[in-house]
Amino acid sequence: MNARTFSIGGIHPEENKLTHEVATKVAALPKQAIFPLSQHIGAPAKPVVQKGDKVKVGTLIAEAGGFVSAPIFSSVSGTVFKIDTAIDATGYRKPVIIINVEGDEWEETIDRSDKLETVEAHPELTPEEIVNRVKEAGVVGMGGACFPTFIKLTPPPTAKAECVIINAVECEPYITADFRLMMEHADEILVGLELLMIAAKVTTGYIGIETNKPAAIELLTEKVITKFNVQSSKFNVSVVPLKQRYPQGGEKQLVDAVIQRQVPAPPAIPVNVGAIVQNVGTAFAVYEAVMKHKPLFERYTTVTGKRLANPGNFLVRMGTPMQDLIDACGGMPEGDNKLLAGGPMMGKALTSTEVPICKGTNSVTIISDDEARRKEPQPCIRCAKCVGVCPMGLEPYLLAKLSEIKNWERAEQEDIVSCIECGSCQFTCPAHRPLLDNIRQGKATVMGIIRSRAAKK
């Protein structure tokens, strides 16, 4: 197939899709579920339960803390043990709700049947109704960024949406959760896409999938043809095979690859060039939220690593500590290990195995032995390989140096705020220099300077 890709830079790391063919298992319920109040971009949620309250699966336990925020629902039934602080994926102690699990009783409002609900059967679904249900169910971006979905579906008046792009690329090594979701719930995902298109008031949809998942491309293409390429359908949907390249899953790179439009530098976002990007897991969550009245409390997560005895894909209730999943895969390997929430390129290294699965945890990756440590950095040999791989057309060697010597003015001129922190530069650098560590620092400082400059005006 003639596959496209994004136009600037990119790398091709080892795939390591160890769990590609492993069918998804339902993870066992934990004994205690931990729910951080901040599982999304924006204000943390505010608890609406207290110690001793009884909850069911799907009960609201924290309401949205502001406009840019999302509510949190219990994924287990039991008693609220306490509202305390615990280490979450940021590495710091954050406020959490801890629930002791008793049984598995669900809220009656949730439709637990397997029946596929279609849009045709529900004419009452207006765009506003869909957005509202998505908001109340606490659906956020499931690709890892966790941006509240309802906000993305209502772009600012200056931007006009023209299409919805489903991000089924899964460009990070190791992760296969999205792939398994597509193979096991393709019909629901397409209804979810339809709901997203109605909510965004567009008629064009794309599903971007990398060519390393030929089974998914074949399956979805077949289903798209039967569902959308019919006379009665007002939607124009196509599956777009994309050449394997990291970071194709990055919003901006995906929009460039699928519709050949490049989003300008921040504060521009994809909807400024007409595209609304949603992860395939988010599309599934939208289907469940709107059609099954099921709020967001469980997700597909890959638990993987070269030294794990039985890596696998799990349907896991949020709040489950990672240790439970690691045990289900054979336990933590002996020796040096790095525990990552996410993939090896953009995942967060954790200090504790008790960190719970949250809305954005698409993978638990264990990196072992030699791979767990970095090599000693050497001086920059000015090979310019980092410049060649940067997908945003920046010069990482220069940005890292400017951040090191704290020259913020020049760093701003060199467009440091455009960096998407994908890590391609550091991955490629032959001298093993900590490029992204320095650039991240510089980007945060420069963004702070820009904010204070805007505030003064």
Binding site: D84, T85, I87, T90, G91, Y92, R93, K348, A349, L350, T351, S352, A372, R373, R374, P434, D437, N438, R440, Q441, A444
Partner: protein, 290 residues
């Protein structure tokens, strides 16, 4: 011979014209600068540390002269030169100067390797800023010192060094000019400028951990748990407990050390006090047993 004479005359004429042009330019394009600015600059230490808040000593001299013309030198102080230099400057400008208390940088963390257990190994770029962005660090305390020395890097006077045994920075009181560079460099706001105190004596809470008691205790043996005993004990109302952390206001503290005695976690530190003398009864008992 003729050509030598011609060469001399021509060059001489060029020199003379150039000199006239330069003289005219220096008069026409001259920038008037108040001569006092140069005089004040002479008195200032010339370290250009920025501790006064102005760009270099010349910037400070400029501000001082403007302040003198406006009628007051309030708010202008050179931390490096201190009261001595400010006094001289005030004399030169014919102004009075308010006496300011000498300050010193205080590292409010006692989470040494002995007190704080490591729960993870950090294998990235060894700067406090990077480690802070990565997470809580190598220990369970997300507020405590990371020990990579960003403060050491920032100090232009060599007044702060990380002790390799304890992993915590130590301030050399003699060299510290309270310019505030280390305060800005610390990503966790652990360092604070506090009054040096009479004979260099000061009392402070050596902890900035805001976690609840049980979590703080698990992370570090000498963390403040916010129990409030010190707040109750202080006869001068100098201590406030907020967010599970006690804070001593150095403006109100009278160095009585009652809080230090009553703190169950030994989180309050008193520096430069004489060692306690043994009581007379104890001495007698010791002689008996010997």
């Amino acid at each position: 011979m003729d050509f030598i004479l011609i060469a001399v005359i021509v060059l001489g004429a060029i020199g003379l014209i150039a000199a006239l042009v330069l003289f005219a330019a220096s008069k026409k394009f001259a920038v008037y600068e108040d001569p006092r600015i140069a005089q004040v600059s002479e008195l200032l230490p010339g370290a250009n540390c920025g501790g006064c808040g102005f760009p270099g000593c010349s910037g400070m001299a400029d501000a001082l002269v403007k302040g003198a013309d406006a009628g007051s030198l309030d708010g202008l102080s050179c931390p490096v030169g201190g009261a001595v230099v400010m006094g001289k400057v005030a004399d030169l400008l014919g102004m009075a100067i308010a006496n300011s208390e000498p300050m010193v940088a205080v590292v409010r963390c006692n989470g040494t390797c002995e007190h704080r257990q490591k729960i993870a190994e950090y294998a990235g770029l060894r700067t406090c800023a990077a480690m802070h962005a990565c997470g809580a660090g190598e220990t369970a305390c997300g507020f405590g010192c990371l020990g990579c020395g960003d403060c050491m890097e920032a100090c232009q006077f060599g007044a702060i060094h990380v002790n390799p045994e304890t992993g915590i920075p130590e301030v050399d009181e003699e060299k510290c000019t309270s310019c505030g560079a280390c305060v800005k460099a610390c990503p966790r706001n652990i360092i604070e400028l506090r009054k040096k105190g009479p004979k260099g004596r000061r009392v402070y809470v050596s902890c900035v951990n805001k976690d609840k008691g049980p979590a703080a205790m698990k992370a570090c043996a000498v963390s403040c748990i916010g129990c409030g005993k010190c707040e109750k004990e202080c006869p001068f109302g100098a201590i406030t407990v907020e967010n599970n952390l006690a804070y001593i206001d150095f403006g109100k503290c009278r160095l009585c050390r009652k809080c230090e005695k009553v703190c169950p976690k030994h989180a309050i530190v008193a520096v430069n006090f004489p060692a306690p003398k043994p009581k007379p009864e104890e001495e007698e008992r010791k002689e008996e047993t010997v």
